[in-house]
Amino acid sequence: MDNETAVAAVNTDAEELEVDDLLVEEVSIDGMCGVY
């Protein structure tokens, strides 16, 4: 499924929001290189 534009689909009673990652992206970063 390809999103051409940054559109979030919302169902009618807004119970759930589908989010694409064009505005917010979380990163798992833990020291980056290992030892420390």
């Binding site: 798992s28 290992g34 030892v35 420390y36």
Partner: protein, 372 residues
Amino acid sequence: MSPEPSLRDRFKLGLDAPICLTWELTYACNLACVHCLSSSGRRDPRELSTDEAKRIIDEMVEMQIFYVNIGGGEPMVRTDFFELLEYATKKNVGVKFSTNGTRITADNATYLAGLGYLDIQISLDGADAATNDHVRGEGSFASAIAAMEHLKAANFGEFKISVVVTRHNAPQLDAFQALADHYGAQLRLTRLRPSGRGVDVWDELHPTAGQQRELYDWLVSHPQTLTGDSFFHLNALGDPIDGLNLCGAGRVVCLIDPIGDVYACPFVIHDEFLAGNVRSEGGFARVWRESDLFKELREPGSAGACTSCGSYDACQGGCMAAKFFTGLPLDGPDPECVLGHGEAALLAQKVTIIPRPLGDHSKPVRVSVSSR
């Protein structure tokens, strides 16, 4: 197709300030681990003073560096350790320090538990004394456990247990997890590199290909395990492991060493990867933003010999330090390439030249002359 570059793409080009920084406070150490990445043992007489160290912390505040990973040598042997810790945390610089645990006491554990912006990492390389002490020296397992007991008793919260995965401890991952669970700690598994003294024990200690596959499977089934993003070379085995999965050296992170030298990362303490020194004009900020080395690292890299490999996007050619210190070219496979390309490259080399750094702070080994 989305026109927005991903975070990963952005990071490859470098940031105006590191996200976090590794700072080795001292080359002095009261242990002599056989694989020490910084070849630590003896203090360097050119070590940064307390004031110089505080200036670095001031720069971190200015540059809005979120946190610093403090290590060494053994950082707690510095007499100004707690003074620097307080200076940093009072300025809201997050500190995680890595320690062998020998200097953690019931009293200071209580103090540490009360500090905000602080995380602690205890180094451990075996789930039992025999395995651990083989690498870290007699008594080191007991010291580490004692430190964990103090932290637990002081209600420090979720500290980290950090393990360098070796051939000997690779079968002990479940045991490490149990240890972490027992102490309410979080487990970190990190990659051994042939750096510092590590180059001398690399052949004996680095995991086998089979162990690497098992490790990958274990990490996938234990996603809560931290890795310091050090195992992205394993991504060619399947779905990527959690993390940024790229080398951040000189782009997102770097090392400041005990004498103020700035290196791309702690595993490449060698002139080839020396970006500058914080004592020079412009301090750390200028080195980070303007050094030739870091500009080079921020250029889009070439896949080189890995160009035709379908796994390159997943593994990014692995770790610079692993390649450099096994004498392999940087634009080619990692020595532990899971597809075997690294091994092949090593065998194909007519001559292998292993670079050695000029500095070595290891303590001389005292050989007993007594009869056996």
